[in-house]
Every structure is written in C-alpha cells, then in structure tokens.
C-alpha cells in the first residue's frame, strides 16, 4: 500500500527516552530515527536488528496477510465492496496512543435495511483487531466513534456488515509521529 513514513531526520537528535512510552515497544519506528526513542530493552533489540537489518525483533505484529485473514473471519466468502463507509481519522497524528476515529455508514437503519455491525482492523499493531460494534435499527444512525492505539504509521480498515448480508469497506492511511521529550526512569 502507499503507506508513507515520516522522513527520518538523521541530523536531529531525538530528545526522547522512554520506559513507558511505547504501547508496543520494539515494533514502533524501525528506522534510524527511532533508535534514541526506545527503552533500554528496545534499544538493545534495535541494535540487534540493526546488525541483521531484515530480522525484526519481536516480530509479533499484524501483517497484510493477518489483516486479510481477520477481515475474512468477518466476511466469510461474501464479496467486500468499497463504498458506503466513511472512516474519519486524522491523516497525521502527534501520538499513536489515542487516535480519534469515527466510522459512519450510509444506511436508512430500518428493520429491512440496516447496518448490523461495524468492524475495524489495522495493519501493523501486534494484532489486526481493533473493535467490533453491533448495531440495530434502534441506533437510528450507523455511527461509532472511539479512540485507538496505532503502533506505527499504517493502514486502518473499516468494514460494515448490513442486514442484507453485504459487506462494505473503506481504508485510511495514518502517519504516526512520536512526541518528543518523553518519560525516563523516574
């Protein structure tokens, strides 16, 4: 996918030192720009990975395949069509720990034609699942908002399941930067 990554700024030191900052330590920001931002543990891990560039330490993150499999679990063999779903998420966030996200689906929300469920997935967190929400005509509108964690710059996918058994989808790319001057040993 055309997921963009923030430009590494080699000359600029990252004024960051973390014990607790990284929700998925070891899987976030695997570039030269990230080295100083990791915990002592992550830094060691990073050095190990720098030595063997292609080997990802803690390689427990969702992959495009895991993402596809998670979506398949929901859709089964039904076709997944682009459209009807709107995913409102900022294109660039200052911190991946709480990314506001709203999913809305075009639907009359009547007994005969409504959205039964909204599922959200991600590409690069340790697990592809974000949430499943179940709706009914009692909701009036097919809209769900929450805040999610994104461990890295990545794709977020929303899937809506209708009462007619249709599946509609949309995805969005989110660039995640990290706050400067973060927590050290306290």
């Amino acid at each position: 996918m055309n997921t963009r990554r923030p430009e590494p700024r080699g000359a600029t030191p990252r004024l960051s030192e973390a014990k607790s900052r990284d929700p998925f330590c070891g899987r976030q920001k695997r570039g030269p720009s990230a080295t100083l931002g990791a915990t002592a543990l992550c830094r060691r891990v990073f050095l190990a990975s720098a030595a063997a560039v292609t080997i990802m330490p803690f390689a427990v993150h969702a992959t495009p395949e895991a993402l596809a499999a998670a979506i398949k679990e929901v859709t089964g063999d039904a076709p997944l069509r682009e459209g009807k779903v709107t995913l409102d998420v900022p294109p660039l966030v200052e911190n991946g720990n709480a990314v506001p996200l709203t999913v809305s689906v075009e639907s009359p929300m009547t007994a005969g034609d409504h959205v039964k469920a909204i599922h959200v997935f991600n590409e690069k967190n340790p697990q592809p699942h974000v949430f499943n929400a179940w709706l009914s005509p009692a909701n009036g509108r097919a809209v769900v908002a929450t805040r999610i964690k994104l461990a890295d710059t990545q794709k977020v996918v929303a899937v809506a399941e209708t009462s007619k058994g249709e599946f509609w989808t949309v995805h969005a790319d989110v660039i995640v930067t990290i706050a400067a001057c973060i927590e050290g040993v306290t």
Binding site: S33, A98, A180, C181, E183, V185
Partner: protein
Amino acid sequence: MTGLRLAAVLIAVFTASFALAQGDGRRSGYQDMSPALQKMQDDDTANPAMLFVQAGASAWTEKAGAAGKSCADCHGDASSSMKGVAARYPAVAPETGQPVDLEGRINLCRTTRQLADPLAAESDGLLALGAYIALQSRGQPIAPPGDPRLSSLRAEGADLYKRRQGQLNLSCANCHDDNAGRKLAGASIPQGHPTGYPIYRLEWQALGSLKRRLRNCVVGLRAEPWPYEAREYLALESWLMVRARGLAIDAPAVRP
C-alpha cells in the same frame, strides 16, 4: 547579585511587554496541536482529563484528616472561590512565607487545615484535585502575583531555563525559544507555556503535572531529573508563569 539584579530587570521588561499579551507571537501548546487533538480537549464529554476532574469534584467535598474538614468546608463553591487561582500560582503561602505551587498549596491545606497526610506527587488524588481547581480558571489570563518575595525564585527559574544541561548540553531556551515552531523529529516544538496543567498527555495515557512534564524535558536533555520536591521545579514553574503572563488557562489540557 548582579546576575539577580539583571534577572529582575529582565523580568520587569518581560512583564511589561507580556502585559500586551495578544499578538506578541506567543502561542500556547493548544495552538500547536492538530485540530483532532484540539477537538479532544475542547469537548468535555470526550476529554479524558474530565474523568479526573470528576474525581476532583467529589474529593472537594470529602472530609479528610483529623480535622474532619473538606475543601468545601472552608472554600465553599469552587466555581467561585477557585476562579483564577490556578492562574496565580506559584505564590507565597501566608502560613510559611514560602513560595508554593498549586499542588504545594493543596498539600499545605491538607497538613495545616485538614490535619491529613499530604498527597503524594503525581498521585491520582493530587492530580484530580489539581485538575478540578485548575478547571475553575479556564479562560483566565495567567497572572503571576507581584509579590517581591517571589523575585529571587523567578530569577533562579529564568537562569535555569537558560542553563545548558545534560549530555546533549541544551537549555530549555534552545528548544522553546530558539527553535519553537520547528520540528523535533516528527513533533512540533511548542513555546513551552504552562497554560493547561495538569495535562492529559497522550504519551503518558494519563494526567500529569507540570513537574512531570519538566522531568520529561530534563530526561530528554539526558540530564538527571531533580527529585519531585526539588526547588528547581518551583523556580522553573515560577519563571514559566511569568513568561506566559496574560495567556489564557486552558486546563485540563490534552497534549501529545
């Protein structure tokens, strides 16, 4: 002494210029945030710091200590009695003649009025009361008191602010004056005005004080952070409030 006098003059000059708060190029961290985070802060039904405010509101009326008194027993309705208070601290505590920040003031009330144990630095209890009190000053301009007993502390703070420290050998001013508005890695460097404390920092996934934020900066410089009770924080806080004079309080703020 010359240094102190110079600092005092500087403070006077800054104070005078800061009185013309609007349009002088100063920006709160709020203005440097993305619209998504501004929205998160603005909506009291979505701002996670409001969970702490709610806890603080109930702590306000809870009796504590051997005196069996609540904050409300002395101060009544916080929405009137605490309005503007957070905009004035650090200030000199009348009981001791010593400068305290708002958290120090809360703990003085606990130990001298409620006859209770002080609340620990960064404890939920202290942050919650701090957030509830700070909320009452929303929109109020920062107004450091003109108390001469604060001058030397402010001068110390101004000096610390400009002092290079840590393995990176940087001062607060190197980032927040010289490079404010530019990027540090992916993050935008704010001017460092303490308008919104205690803040819900996404990095922490929790509410935290200005001291905690200053510690993060100090660690960022690769310097050893002072212990929570150190005078250095009080000095820096005092100087930062003078530096931010006139800017509006937006506590409890959300910050990245």
